[in-house]
């Protein structure tokens, strides 16, 4: 029983990590007033580029006759996926901030674009590589659960806390840093003001466009890392067609569930992860699998209902999220 519970929690954390990264990227983006619905697209872009980055590094090393190093491969994967996600967000930012295109439409387009981009290059590079893209065991090992001396060996607690791959800890670190940034620093205050009321921020001398660009691009990069987790950890370094599908939208839902707070995001990502994998651990006879798959979405609806009923101004979406800002607009 205890064993089942432990494995359930561990599986929940692993399943929740890409959602957490996607949600963190979107929290930062929405805090700046951009509602980027292209999370799924940016995750896809991060997934394929991260994989190809590692794979390309291995190929290059093999060609040069040097042995590939797992840590370097993982680092390249991290950087490349961050840049790819950030690039998707940059397209989005240029369209919505500079050209003031509709945010919803642009985000949806980015999702379609990213999905196509990833599946196209996944198949294309796969064909070039002779069937499918897969990284070698050197890189795979870099994404295996860590073993920290002493800590990982503590019974139960060690398993629950200290036996995950490094991206899990990286994601939690991002959440903590983002929370400190948003709520304790001057720049965080400025960023939040841009998302709440860009006219007020502008009048206070804050460069609204710069804050929006920065937050959206960095947020997109974090989403990209979430996608990289899917291709490097969830599918173990093999390109699987459409491997991110659905995760990006869950991440958007998670932002609402987390009420735009990075720290709450950690908790609710675990819950979402749990809801996604619970069918593999607890099966109620006669209950169709599809019902289990609905759980994360039903939870989101419940959260939407409860936040709407509460109508708290402080735990709601930043007031200007979804709206473009133009200083000379005459109200």
């Amino acid at each position: 029983m205890l064993d089942t519970a432990t494995t359930l929690v561990m599986a929940a954390v692993l399943a929740g990590t890409p959602l957490l990264l996607g949600a963190l990227g979107e929290i930062l983006t929405e805090r700046s007033g951009n509602l980027n619905l292209g999370v799924e697209g940016m995750m896809f872009m991060g997934a394929i580029t991260g994989l190809i980055g590692s794979w390309g590094y291995e190929q290059a090393m093999a060609a040069a006759g040097i042995e590939a190093i797992g840590a370097v491969s993982a680092l390249i994967s991290l950087l490349v996926s961050f840049i790819a996600g950030g690039f998707g967000a940059l397209i989005y930012s240029f369209l919505t901030i500079t050209l003031r295109a509709n945010q919803n439409v642009t985000g949806l387009v980015l999702t379609i674009f990213g999905t196509g981009f990833a599946n196209f290059f996944g198949e294309y590079v796969g064909l070039a590589a002779g069937g499918y893209v897969a990284v070698s065991s050197v890189t795979k090992e870099a994404f295996l659960p860590l073993h920290i001396p002493v800590l990982s060996d503590i019974p139960v607690l060690g398993q629950l806390l200290f036996q995950y791959n490094w991206i899990v800890y990286f994601a939690i670190g991002v959440a903590v840093v983002m929370s400190l940034f948003l709520f304790k620093t001057r720049f965080g205050l400025n960023l939040r003001s841009v998302g709440e009321d860009p006219a007020a921020a502008d009048a206070a001398g804050i460069n609204v466009s710069r804050y929006r660009y920065m937050a959206t691009v960095i947020g997109g990069g974090i989403c990209g890392i979430g996608g990289m987790y899917m291709s490097m950890v969830t599918t173990s370094g093999v390109w699987v067609h459409g491997c991110v599908t659905g995760y990006g939208w869950l991440a958007v839902a998670l932002v609402i569930f987390a009420t735009w707070s990075p720290l709450r995001g950690i908790l609710v990502a675990g819950i979402f992860g749990g809801l996604m994998i619970v069918r593999m651990y607890i099966s109620i006879p006669g209950l169709p699998v599809q019902i289990y798959e609905m759980l994360p979405y039903m939870a989101t609806i419940l959260v939407l209902i409860s936040t709407s009923v509460r109508q708290s101004k402080e735990h709601a979406m930043p007031a200007s999220t979804g709206l473009n800002y133009f200083r000379e607009d005459r109200e």
Binding site: L189, S193, D197, A200, A203, A204, G205, N207
Partner: protein, 566 residues
């Protein structure tokens, strides 16, 4: 350029598309003075100072600050030059505290402690004698508190040139006095201030000099003590204008609208209206006075069928098979009411929220009243367009044409579109709520004229207003509300302002239970239980009005409650 001049703007021109907001306008502000910028709506006052605060960039012209030529490209540039502006619509982040709003965008240490910034703000507030809680969230603040935060925000930035855009529009007279005291204190502190307003009394009370703009052009600058309200009005409007409001006398017609024991609850579940009864007759203007939130909004909206009531009746003059009848309309949707052949027009307080669609043009807004007429799937745009053109011409609406987007018009023109559309329906009853709020003199008088015209045509006009002087001059009878109850109907020709003021603050809930003395809660419950049955409470209507309202109207007709209980 002497060093006594803080700001000098020369030959400024700014256009928005086809509209010219400022044409060759100059302005100079001396150190340590209060300059009033006076002009009607749409005269370009706000546009002009927005170029000083970095919101707009001038098309041509030069700006000098402390004698040096400057380019102000953004609010940040303005702030660096020591210029701060308090906008008419506050630029505050609602979910932030006062202190957070004040330090927003300022350089400083990366991490900041809430306690330290709150202490800093408290110290600054104390120096200027402001009362403020630095930790209070803006959304929990009153309008006057928000304004205080805006002022402190600017002082915190070390501004010595302050611009206040219509700061008194949202303040009570008492708060206005407090603001003026603060402004004089800042002036004594060596700061230079520009106050934008169209209220002459305020210009005379607080400014040292006045600059007048009209239709985007510079008219004159005069010393306040050398001028008077009449002269300023003439400069502002462009022609001499009488400040008297007409009250054409005409015989009173038939009863058009009867409200009987109308009660409603507000959002918190308390009685917003408590057994309100009155009648309106054709060819009169019934003024409704009361302090803000006395039930005016609920009253007109429930009569118009837009607000739920918990009891009472609203009857309107109608015809049934050729016979005149009083048709009950309470609780019916507006379109059901109009299908009964009753023509009631309502000009709501919230013009762009309830009355018009800001993002549509004038024709489309006019069409909102008529699009259901006619047959076939296509709407008739020709007639609304003709009506829109007619309104633009007749009411002197400043717009590029019937295709002008309503949201881009100035407040006065928006109101003219709305009232014009309603009047064009030939209503038998016209209800207007705060029709001149935010409007300049010229537009206000135009609106009064329109209402008088309707009265002469025999329309029953209900005028809900806030300016007692106007109410007393314009209306034929004046109904005073206090806490959701009618405290009396008086004759505005004989009553004094003070008497009406007293009636406005009368505590009627206590006055009525003085003798029987049930606890107020009990009373409220009782009233609620009998809610729907009109006329069975001897304490309703005028019956419970105590002695201070002896001068209740006796000018030919009385209100509904009296009629029922002779």
């Amino acid at each position: 350029m002497t060093d006594t001049v803080a700001v000098c703007m020369e030959h400024i021109t700014k256009t928005f598309g086809k509209v010219c907001a400022n044409r060759d306008v100059s302005l100079d502000l001396r150190r340590g003075e209060i300059l009033a910028l006076l002009g009607e709506n749409g005269s370009g006052k706000t546009s002009l100072v927005n170029m000083l605060s970095g919101i707009y960039f001038p098309d041509s012209g030069e700006i000098f600050v402390h004698g040096k030529r400057v380019m102000i490209r953004s609010p940040k540039d303005a702030s660096n030059l020591g210029i701060g502006m308090i906008h008419q619509h506050f630029k505050l982040v609602e979910v932030f505290s006062a202190a957070e709003n004040i330090v927003l965008g300022q350089p400083g240490s990366l991490f900041m402690s809430k306690k330290r910034i709150e202490a800093e703000v408290a110290a600054l507030a104390q120096r200027y004698g402001f009362e403020i809680d630095p930790a209070k969230k803006v959304y929990a603040m009153s309008v006057s508190e928000k304004q205080t935060v805006e002022i402190i925000k600017i002082l915190y930035r070390g501004a010595d040139i302050l611009i206040l855009d219509e700061p008194t529009a949202v303040l009570t007279p008492h708060e206005t006095e407090k603001l003026f005291a603060v402004m004089r204190k800042m002036k004594d502190d060596g700061k230079s201030l520009i106050i934008i307003t169209h209220k002459l009394g305020e210009v005379m009370a607080v400014s040292d000099r006045v600059e007048v703009l009209r239709k985007g052009e510079y008219i004159a600058t005069v010393n306040t003590r050398d001028t008077g309200q009449a002269e300023l009005t003439e400069m502002m409007v462009g022609r001499p204008i009488s400040l008297r409001i007409e009250r054409p006398e005409r015989p009173v017609g038939e009863e058009r609208l009867q409200v009987v024991d109308l009660s409603c609850l507000n959002a918190e579940g308390f009685k917003a209206l408590d057994k309100v009864s009155f009648s309106v007759f054709g060819g009169e203007i019934l003024g409704i006075a009361g302090i803000a939130g006395s039930g005016q909004k609920e009253l007109c909206e429930s009569v118009a069928g837009l607000y739920p009531s918990i009891g009472g009746a609203v009857l309107m003059k109608s015809e049934y098979e050729g016979e005149p009848v009083m048709e009950p309309i309470l609780g019916l949707k507006p379109d059901v009411v109009s299908s009964k052949g009753i023509s009631m027009a309502f000009v709501p307080e919230d013009r762009l929220g309830m009355g018009l669609v800001a993002s549509l043009d004038i024709t489309d807004n006019v069409m909102l009243r008529s699009y259901k007429n006619g047959r076939g799937p296509f709407v008739d745009r020709k007639r609304p367009r003709a009506l829109a053109e007619y309104l633009i011409e007749q009411l002197e609406i400043v717009a590029t044409g019937p295709g002008a987007i309503v949201g881009r018009l100035s407040g006065g023109n928006v109101q003219k579109v709305l009232i014009g559309r309603e009047i064009a329906q030939d209503p038998t009853v016209l209800m207007v709520a705060y029709p001149v709020r935010g409007l300049d003199i010229n537009s206000s008088y135009k609106i009064y004229d329109l209402l008088n015209e309707q009265k002469k045509k025999g329309v029953a006009v209900v005028f809900i207003g806030e300016d007692l002087d106007v109410l007393l001059e314009l209306s034929d009878r004046l109904l005073v509300l206090s806490g959701g109850r009618v405290s009396g109907v008086v004759d505005p020709r004989t009553v004094t302002k003070e008497e009406v003021g007293l009636m406005m603050v009368q505590d009627l809930s206590r006055a009525s239970d003085g003798e029987e003395a049930p606890p107020p809660e009990q009373l409220r419950l009782d009233l609620q239980m009998q809610g729907v049955r009109p006329g069975d409470d001897p304490g309703s209507g005028l019956g419970d009005v105590p002695h201070s309202t002896q001068n209740v109207a006796s000018d030919g007709h009385s209100d509904g409650a009296e009629r029922r209980e002779p």
